[in-house]
Symmetry: D2
């Protein structure tokens, strides 16, 4: 039998909390019930926190706005570390000029632009501009015609030897209690298999996500890994990645991992969280403690 820990008593022991977004803070219906009290408590206790998410479909500002519209006012853009931000850092450092072709919505690509880099959807690449395409990015499963633009992507990558960035490593995401949707990460793996080239992936469980957040903290205070805990609902991304980076980890049962499966999943995969909690909700007693 698995041991269920009290979430409040865990976060009391750490200085900084990393939260996964989907399945921990929100789900397909809206906010996870009671999650506001967690962020209120963190604010009162002056604990730092970051949302560490494999979501490249929107900019940090837009993601923060999404939380605000659901009623979570504490989460601002500078609390967010997304795989899209790592993509932007990569492009800034490594692709000096030309066109970045992308699969996704305009929203997902807009914030990747810079003075010297133009973003263009794959649908707008043709014989006149293909020679200026210096990177290709998989951002979102929406915003393009799958049949036409995926076939076009394969042929662009056969003609251009350029870095390909996958800004979302998930294969599918939940749409409702019964249905899922194919993620751009799953689509990217198919294209990688077909063109036979090595794509660059940003997103948990990869350490670079955790390092990005860790570096953000160190800009304004000293910290060590022992003082940070990662909270997530998925063993293969949140827990595996957090563990590998050297963080303690909390598996919550409000998302991908069901209570009935938790023990078997941990044993089968060998991915062991430091703690297990029902959900990432701080339950205060009647006196607010």
């Amino acid at each position: 039998m698995i041991h269920i820990d009290n979430f409040k008593s865990i976060i009391d022991r750490y200085e900084v909390i990393f939260f996964d977004s989907f399945g921990v803070v929100k789900n397909y219906k809206g906010l996870v019930a009671g999650i506001e009290s967690t962020f209120n408590y963190l604010e009162k206790q002056k604990k730092e926190f970051y949302i560490v998410t494999n979501d490249a479909s929107r900019s940090p500002e837009q993601l923060a706005n999404g939380f605000k519209n659901m009623g979570l006012k504490t989460i601002s853009a500078n609390h967010i570390v997304s795989s899209g931000m790592l993509t932007k850092e990569y492009l800034d450092l490594k692709v000096n000029n030309g066109i970045v072709a992308y699969l996704g919505t305009e929203n997902s690509a807009h914030y990747l632009e810079s003075a010297s880099l133009l973003t263009l959807p794959v649908s707008k690449i043709d014989n006149n501009n293909i020679d200026k395409v210096n990177a290709l990015v998989f951002l979102d499963d929406e915003g393009f015609n799958w049949f036409e633009d995926l076939n076009k992507t394969v042929n662009i990558l056969r003609k251009r030897t350029i870095p390909v960035i996958v800004a979302n490593t998930d294969y599918a995401y939940p749409l409702s209690v019964n249905d899922v949707s194919i993620s751009i990460g799953g689509i990217a793996s198919m294209i990688e298999g077909i063109v036979g080239k090595e794509f660059i992936r940003f997103g948990k469980p990869d350490s670079q996500m955790f390092m990005f957040a860790y570096d953000l903290i160190r800009e304004y205070r000293t910290i060590n890994k022992k003082q940070i805990v990662m909270v997530g609902d998925t063993l293969h991304t949140d827990i595996l990645g957090g563990n590998k980076f050297g963080l303690d980890t909390v598996l919550v049962l409000s998302g991908n991992t069901l209570t009935v499966d938790a023990e078997t999943s941990i044993k089968t995969t060998g991915i062991v969280p430091t703690y297990i909690c029902e959900k990432a909700v701080v339950e205060l007693d009647e006196f607010g403690f």
Copy 2:
């Protein structure tokens, strides 16, 4: 340096010839130049032959008609062994009734129907008939809406524990000298990765294709594997599969494998054809020998 053999002198040594279709008999422009003389020669010499193809987009009759329209009259439907025919055999033996949902054109599915099995495109599956879906088949990359129907396929397979048949194992096929198209085999692998279930694949290099052709011959004459040679342009399907089944094999350089790459490809993959020829064309001298 690789040794190039004379195609005519090879087929003179065998009783039955298996040909791959694309890259051997035809290509994206039409027939391989000179291929008619090969089939004329086979007819004159009373040699048996079969077209063994990973093409499930049409029935054997339609495939034969395609050759006829290009000017190859000798190839009739009963000379054709396709991965679609293995799919049909599987459905006849293993799926007794209900609906077979499919991804592909109507043409690709029509001949799979039987008295007790109804074929329906994935787009026509809904809550009223999903319980009658007893198999799902990947047939062709055309004839459906990729975004809508691939997402729907994932969700059907999460709800129904049914056999899934992939009738084309290729990941891409050539469209022109510069461009390729994603095959239904590549799409099926993506869906398999997402739903985590084991699909059933028909097509070279799998032995069942060769066995099907071998059984067709044995219905009317005795034969052994030493008397058959497989001719193909692709190491991973035609040559690997033919070798494994115990046949001698001919790699032709008129399709997927370029002359400059042949030696390296053989060494790198470890897939060794018995012979290598420029193309599968019998060149007769002025006296017809």
Copy 3:
């Protein structure tokens, strides 16, 4: 809840029964309790049967002797179809002369020899005879020094472009109720990954195993696939392979698949047996029916 079928009533409906060996007929302690009655019943009913096994560690004669020593007298060598026999057929058809290097015991290699083919353990290959090595076969995890001979195998395969045959596709096999042993199939996959070449694998779920048995039957009688049932304890080999070949299948719960896991395993893998039975044992009533 899964439905458990009566084994006797199933085999009454078929003409020929294919049995997996380990986990069905025998296990690490000896014979599966009561299995003798099954073979007595088959003999009395004049039903044909074959043992279809991924065991290449010994010749069919030695395997039959093994059953005899445990008390099963009905199983003779010509009832056995092993992945080793497919290896022998491959060598006979495709490797005309020279040396077949092998990893395994002398017992596992001896019956692969022929007038024109010499078998030699990898340990005996050196600069004087390496040029005569025309095939390399993975037969058994015993009989060689892992450190020395696996490293030597990698280097032989870097120097020689020759067919490599893996005569056992399993990754591990049970040694006792608690312990397993690494199979030669797992070792072969490691070597394949290192040398980057494509190996040829014989063994379930590959159709060629079933075809070999099917052909044996057709040498002396007519049969069709509807009249054969495959009995096995492993979804990924026995059931997947049997289904794909077009046979009805029985999953027995006396080996790899535990009763508590059967339903989940079937749903997770999508590999559906036609029937499920506790074990492959015919239980007769007091009157022998």
Copy 4:
């Protein structure tokens, strides 16, 4: 045609140089010819450098001693970042007590020990101490009996749900101009496939290696990624990893990547170095410039 850059003019543009070890600084015969001049030049120019290596077979001190014995006196232990050091950091942060079982030599494990952590070779794990085993580490391909200890490792991992660390991601390493040796990374992948659990891998191309070095620099000076260049001989580890971390990269042709293959390899893999040089050697003119 690929463009060959001058190595000296490249390093003149950066503040910090990361070097891969094998194939760049040394090879199986000793030091790469002329490499001393590079480290002399770096010292004279007061440039920082790190050796970033997937070698966990010895401690940083022992690795530095190795260079010293070959004549390279400038490389001290604090210039070395190895996958073994990341393993040590992981154990310090995440495994609080008990036994760390290992595969490798005593040398490879000794420096992983701490006040609260005992290292023991897999061969010394038995029923009396298995419950105290809290991690298992793959360190080196030597120092153990492959047959006995690999089988034992599989069975330990079936009984204990513990983190498994692979401190070397390579599959093979060169032994001489003709021969290679199987690496512990290749062995670990085989065991991972058999037990079906997710292992934790440290080593290039993983970003955590680069981050570790990057953090070492930032302890004593400010730096940004634009000021660092990674020099390596292997596209899949040095170049892919360096690129992904956001560094400029130099492919040298003195090791794994041959001059004749460089262009094809880059095109096939899609892994593009910023520069290509013959070797990592600074060639000064007669006046020392």
